[in-house]
């Protein structure tokens, strides 16, 4: 049995962008975490179930296709209902349709209950640095 910190990784909703998911999986694993990678096209429910089953410390949600606003809403409530209200929620990607001021997008997702919000083009190193601060 491993004593690595576990995190759940996946691309939410009807989104099938797989490249960043595979790279994040590789980079976060290399950084010493155990990654439960759900891949693409993941419903909210599956994120929560996987987190409960594996006792994960964080859920890393990606949304690349612009529907993030609709897809990501309510995930914090669902965690609360499932009894994992303290889990860290990270979200990143192209979260809205159209070029928007990132500060506004960030605030919107913070208000939805996410702990960290990443803008387009964020490299894995940045996410890992935050994980090291938050989860270790």
């Amino acid at each position: 049995m491993t004593n690595k910190v576990k995190v759940v990784l996946g691309v939410i909703g009807a989104d099938c962008h797989a490249v960043g998911n595979k790279i994040l999986n590789h980079a976060i694993t290399a950084a010493g975490y155990e990654v439960i990678n759900l891949g693409v096209l993941v419903p909210q429910e599956e994120f929560v179930n996987a987190a409960i089953e594996t006792d994960a410390k964080a859920i890393l949600v990606a949304s690349l296709y612009g529907h993030g606003e609709i897809d990501c809403r309510g995930l914090r409530d669902r965690c609360r209902e499932a009894g994992i209200e303290d889990i860290r929620l990270y979200v990143g990607g192209n979260l809205v349709v159209g070029k928007t001021d990132f500060k506004k997008v960030e605030q919107k997702f913070l208000d939805m209950g996410y702990d960290r919000v990443y803008e387009p083009g964020t490299l894995p190193d940045k996410v890992i640095a935050d994980m090291n601060e938050d989860l270790k």
């Binding site: 009807a14 099938c16 797989a18 490249v19 159209g98």
Partner: protein
């Protein structure tokens, strides 16, 4: 229904058609006979297939953007803006991601939320929800050839509605809209569902209506070697032609090395002609599409214009029949219509400046064409063999065996064993050929190319090299070297 590469009978098709049209209430408004009459009155200038054939004859490269929003009027405005301000030759209707997953309820919700928000909360146009009448409003308000572009594994109802509404071109294919766009839908399923779409187009053809079909060339758009996407393109071309499609555009996504990109388009055209003729589909008209760089873009707009321009240059020098255009907002998500028009105008300027300049068939170019053709033939012939002479069956077995394998695909039906990386000149090669059925010569070719780069950089080819290559263009380079 058992999967095989054989034209469906009318009975086979019609039995399923009723099911398909019942998938969502708008399906009942599809009336094939009426649709044929409707198409008969579409003028040539709005006819996708005719426009492509004319461009091919004149040696022109046409421009086409990606674009789609939730609501009809906004979508019409967007397309007309791209025509007038972007000078686009061909127009798309990009379908939203819920529709692509057949989640019509979620799409309906997106329409309603968009109405409330006063801006599109969907990343495309939910054509099934808008139905034949709604889609026809688009067709009748936009004076250009129109194509449906999406990424829908089961695109049968979408096809019935949009073609009946007057669209003259339909993108997709049983492999190219599964492997990069689905996670756990079987290939048997999607190939059958796309045989349906092709048979539907074939049915229109039987009634004298020519609809253009375009398999999705770039697949995952991420360091896909030309032979891998070409093999898929030729197979999908054959599957479509067998169902009676008469006008097909085969595609390729820019890799970034000019010689490789030009070679890829030429090889694709030559291979498609060769295999289609060999298998008895020589009455099918073939054209080509070049996709500007599909990978990560620089966030800076000025740098993005550089990437767009390089794609435009490669498309023009390769003499592709059309080019799918990126925008300076690419790195930042879905572009504004202004940014979309800018990408189109940059591309148009480049194409027009280059249209009189032929790229000479040099020995380097010929060598690259030969390599791509040799590799593609290895794959195609093995697929044919695995399928005992049937490309549909063969494709399924080939993916199981890794004979067909697409890098970075989300689908669990792609073995994901091959690993691509750039060589020292920036051409995309394989540092792990996985189970691709290459000859020892070809395997050695890739090994040598990778060794050459490894030596230049003082490191062994590894997954890190692949990651470096994936991020390279967004960081301003083609080859992801250690810096």
């Amino acid at each position: 229904m058992e999967l095989k590469n054989k034209k469906w009978t009318h009975d086979e098709f019609n039995a399923i058609r009723q099911e398909v049209l019942a998938q969502w209430p708008t399906g009942k408004d599809v009336d094939f006979e009426e649709a044929v009459k409707y198409h008969e009155n579409i003028p040539a200038k709005r006819h996708f297939a005719k426009r492509l054939v004319k461009a091919k004859k004149n040696g022109d490269t046409l421009t086409q953007p990606r674009a789609g929003v939730a609501l009809i009027d906004e979508h019409i405005n967007l397309l007309n803006f791209l025509k007038t301000e972007g000078e686009a030759d061909l127009l798309p209707t990009t379908i939203d991601s819920y529709t692509r997953q057949n989640q019509y309820k979620e799409a309906q919700n997106g329409i309603e939320e968009s109405l409330k928000a006063g801006r599109s909360l969907l990343n495309g146009f939910p054509a099934v929800n808008h139905g034949v009448t709604g889609v026809r409003r688009v067709v009748e308000s936009v004076d250009a050839p129109l194509q449906v572009r999406h990424g829908t594994p089961d695109a049968r109802l979408l096809g019935e509605i949009t073609i009946a509404a007057g669209y003259t071109s339909y993108e997709g294919g049983g492999i190219s809209y599964n492997i990069p766009y689905a996670k756990s839908v079987s290939l048997e399923r999607t190939i059958l569902d796309w045989q349906y779409c092709d048979r539907m187009v074939g049915l229109y053809a039987e009634h004298g209506i020519e609809i253009n079909r375009e398999p999705f060339g770039p697949l995952t758009g991420t360091l896909v070697p030309p032979s891998v996407s070409h093999a898929v393109a030729v197979i999908e071309g054959i599957l479509a032609a067998e169902q009676g499609v008469k006008n097909i555009t085969l595609g390729y996504g820019q890799c970034g090395n000019l010689i490789q990109d030009i070679a890829a388009i030429r090889a694709l055209e030559q291979l498609a002609d060769e295999y289609m003729t060999k298998h008895g589909y020589s009455d099918c008209v073939l054209t080509s599409v070049f996709h500007q760089w599909m990978g990560g873009f620089p966030q800076d707009e000025a740098k993005a214009f550089g990437v767009i321009s390089w794609g435009a240059a490669a498309a023009a020098l390769a003499k592709a029949t059309k080019v799918i255009v990126k925008t300076p907002h690419e790195a930042l998500g879905i572009p504004t219509k202004e940014a979309n028009a800018q990408g189109l105008r940059t591309t148009k300027q480049m194409i027009n400046m280059l249209k009189d300049q032929a790229f000479p068939l040099t020995s380097e170019l010929q060598a690259e064409i030969d390599i791509i053709k040799a590799e593609t033939r290895c794959i195609l012939n093995k697929v044919f063999e695995l399928g005992s002479g049937d490309y549909a069956v063969g494709a399924v077995r080939a993916f199981e065996a890794g004979v067909l394998d697409v890098p970075f695909a989300p689908s669990k039906f792609s073995l994901n064993k091959i690993l691509p990386a750039r060589d020292n000149n920036g051409a995309v090669r394989l540092f792990d050929v996985g189970n691709l059925p290459f000859t020892p010569d070809l395997i050695a070719f890739h090994r040598d190319k990778m060794a050459q780069r490894g030596q230049a950089e003082g490191r062994q080819p590894s997954f890190q090299m692949v990651i470096d290559d994936i991020y390279a263009i967004s960081k301003g380079y083609l080859v992801g070297r250690p810096r």
